[in-house]
């Protein structure tokens, strides 16, 4: 297989391209995805390649975008609506919660929705208000959906292809902070990375650090820094938020007995709580310290002058890990 060296956003594009080549039922739709190639260029060139019927610029209406995609998917197409920023999924929230997640159950499988709802998510790019949302739990708390967040170019393409082929609706959130932050090898052909499986990004024995998306990098950086202090942290990238790879969580935790959860989403009701609860339920007896949550604060995400104080920083992650190891 030929390898390419791609950024995450290029891997998104490559994943879309690959599946659109393979399967005529796959189409892309949303605001500015056509000629403009998406505001982040995630659909660049696709319109030239596949034309107006498969790369569709829509009116500015998120409920319309998601709702019509539901209708298309029920008819057997495989639409991939893009919402320009995850903070603009809310006007289409009813379609996600009341319909995307429930068509299969509602009809005992007569109608299913093989669709993928993509959106860039997360903070840190000095963007205006509403452009820095990290609210994956709004979707993880709703059964019937799968919620995927990649953190590397390889995973991005592989998970996206899995999502497109998944017979169930998938919410695919892309960490825009690292859309172009680095490159990675990505096979040119199609391949899949399974939904629902976490990845160990750094093996370690002292503490398990669970994270995902754009926080994976500062977490790894913190772990490397702490290695110099003699702390050997295991870093696990969850990759899928729902269904959560609880086996991976428990397995790592049984080894280390200590855990930290890192996410930019608000702490209250964030994935950190769910990870903690899982550890509780399945590995309490291994536990040597409280599970520490290093997360977004429970205040509205500030305008960008303060966003660095809001987001978990390397120092905060380090301190969280230290606190846990030294408990």
């Amino acid at each position: 297989m030929t390898e390419q060296n791609l950024t995450i956003v290029q891997a998104v594009r490559d994943g879309l391209y690959t599946e659109m080549q393979r399967d005529d039922d796959v189409l892309v739709m949303g605001e500015d995805v056509g000629k403009n190639g998406g505001v982040f260029r995630a659909t660049e060139g696709l319109w030239d390649e596949f034309g107006d019927n498969r790369v569709i610029d829509t009116p500015l209406a998120e409920s319309g975008i998601i709702g019509t995609a539901v209708g298309m998917a029920a008819m057997g197409l495989k639409p991939i609506p893009e919402i320009q920023f995850s903070g603009f999924m809310y006007p289409g929230y009813d379609q996600i919660i009341s319909h995307m997640s429930r068509f299969r159950t509602r009809t005992r499988g007569r109608y299913t929705l093989p669709m993928v709802l993509r959106a860039p998510y997360g903070g840190g790019i000095r963007a205006p208000e509403s452009h820095s949302e990290s609210k994956e739990m709004f979707y993880a708390h709703e059964a019937g959906l799968k919620v995927v967040i990649p953190s590397t170019p390889y995973d991005t393409k592989g998970l996206l292809i899995s999502a497109i082929r998944d017979p169930d609706p998938v919410i695919f959130l892309e960490p825009k902070l690292i859309y172009r932050a680095f490159r990675g090898d990505v096979p040119e052909d199609d391949y899949t990375v399974p939904i629902g499986e976490a990845a160990v990004r750094r093996e370690g024995t002292d503490v398990s650090v669970f994270t995902y998306g754009a926080m994976t990098r500062p977490t790894l950086e913190a772990a490397e820094n702490l290695a110099e202090e003699g702390i050997d942290a295991e870093v696990i990238d969850m990759r899928t938020i729902s269904p959560l790879d609880r086996e991976a969580i428990v397995e790592s935790f049984k080894k280390t007995g200590r855990a930290v959860a890192v996410h930019e989403a608000p702490k209250n009701g964030g994935l950190g709580a769910e990870i903690t609860a899982t550890i509780q339920e399945e590995a309490l007896l291994y536990q040597e310290a409280p599970v520490k949550r290093v997360a977004g604060y429970d205040v509205p995400y500030p305008l960008y002058a303060l966003e660095d104080y809001y987001l978990p920083s390397v120092a905060r992650v380090e301190e969280g890990i230290r606190e846990t190891v030294n408990f």
């Binding site: 209406a61 298309m72 009813d94 009809t107 609880r246």
Partner: protein, 368 residues
């Protein structure tokens, strides 16, 4: 001039309240006309029985349709076999025409998802409870047909007067206009959204005129005149599939009608509306209107009406028997249909559930 080229203020009618012809009778064969009548009788009788099942505690909340048979049957009969129908929650009558067995409708309102196992080929979407939320689905479905070059099929979407106030109405119709999708948007304006009257819903004089906002055609029809409804729907479906040069495919139809009964069995309409108003509208009842026309044109007589009455009763009784003797759904269904394949989380919870169920039996779960 096509029936659709009228001013949206100008209500299309074929029969007056007494069943006399006041417009162009559409070209429907006799058999179909009688069938329309039979469907209306069936829907009406089903409705009465369903309400009483609810009263007897044999069924949950149910939304009656009496008064709206003309709009439902008249429009559904106009659909071709390959067309699709996207309902709200009140289109038991229209669904019947599409081939959804009454038993299914009963099961749905008895709280079984089984009611939504649409028969292959019936081409019906499941009922949508959140108001107007099905409208974008219908547009998407029509759009899918067009993208697949199957725009010789159309998708009809039903919704109420209240639904026109929701953002999804706006977004769904606007997309249809922009992408010129083969859709008919059929608004059952029954004058009330629960207790909120039509005038409180919007300041526009008609609902049909809202089409102007989307660059599509809008038309108002007497929704209690099944022949007028048929004519208008037929024309709209035709245009959706075969638009002439310069014509748009989608149409918004406002079918003016009245809900005779309560919004649902949980509602008491006497709190918010007068008997007088109800009586005024009952005079427009679509069933006697069509019956008079059919009798006067020799398509129906006492005998055939009696036969229809008999068969309708039997059909409904059989459906109730069948629904009530259907096995309770198994709790496992809850877990089975969430995803194509159970996720590990769902599986673990299912196992926990099974263990509890084994230990405590149904008594461990059922209330009262």
């Amino acid at each position: 001039m096509s029936v659709l080229q009228r001013d949206p203020q100008d209500q299309v009618r074929v029969l007056d309240e007494d069943g006399s012809v006041v417009g162009d009778v559409p070209d429907i064969d006799d058999e179909t006309m009688v069938e329309m009548y039979r469907y209306m009788r069936l829907a009406r009788h089903f409705d009465t029985r369903a309400v009483s099942l609810q009263r007897q505690g044999r069924m949950g909340t149910y939304p009656p349709l009496s008064g709206q048979e003309g709009a439902q049957i008249g429009s559904a009969v106009a659909l071709a076999e390959d067309d699709w129908m996207v309902p709200s929650y009140r289109e038991h009558g229209a669904a019947l025409v599409r081939g959804l067995p009454l038993k299914q409708t009963l099961l749905y309102w008895m709280g079984h998802e089984k009611g939504n196992e649409m028969p292959e080929g019936a081409n019906i979407f499941p009922p949508a409870v959140p108001i107007a939320s099905q409208i974008p689905h219908a547009t998407g479905a029509g759009w899918a047909l067009k993208l697949r070059e199957e725009a010789d099929k159309a998708v009809m979407c039903y919704f109420g007067d209240g639904a026109t106030s929701e953002g999804d109405f706006h977004e769904g119709l606007n997309f249809a206009g922009v992408f010129d999708t083969p859709n008919v948007f059929f608004c059952n304006n029954n004058q009330w959204a629960i207790s909120v009257p039509r005038e409180r819903q919007t300041a526009s004089e008609t609902l049909a005129q809202k089409a102007v906002a989307y660059g599509i055609d809008g038309i108002q029809v007497d929704g209690m005149d099944p022949l007028a409804v048929y004519a208008v729907t037929q024309a709209a479906l035709d245009k959706a599939k075969n638009p002439q040069e310069g014509e748009c495919r989608p149409t918004l139809i406002e079918a003016v009608q009245y809900r005779f009964g309560a919004h649902t069995t949980a509602d008491d309409p006497t709190v918010y509306r007068d008997d007088e108003e109800v009586e005024k509208w009952k005079a427009k009842d679509p069933i006697p209107r069509l019956e008079t026309f059919l009798r006067e044109t020799g398509r129906l007589d006492d005998e055939s009406v009696d036969a229809i009455e008999e068969s309708v009763k039997e059909q409904v009784a059989d459906a109730i028997d069948a629904a009530e003797s259907d096995p309770r759904p198994d709790p496992s269904e809850m877990f089975e249909y969430a995803y194509a394949e159970m996720t590990p989380e769902v599986e673990a919870q299912y196992e926990e559930f099974q263990a509890l169920h084994e230990k405590f039996g149904d008594e461990g779960f059922l209330r009262e």
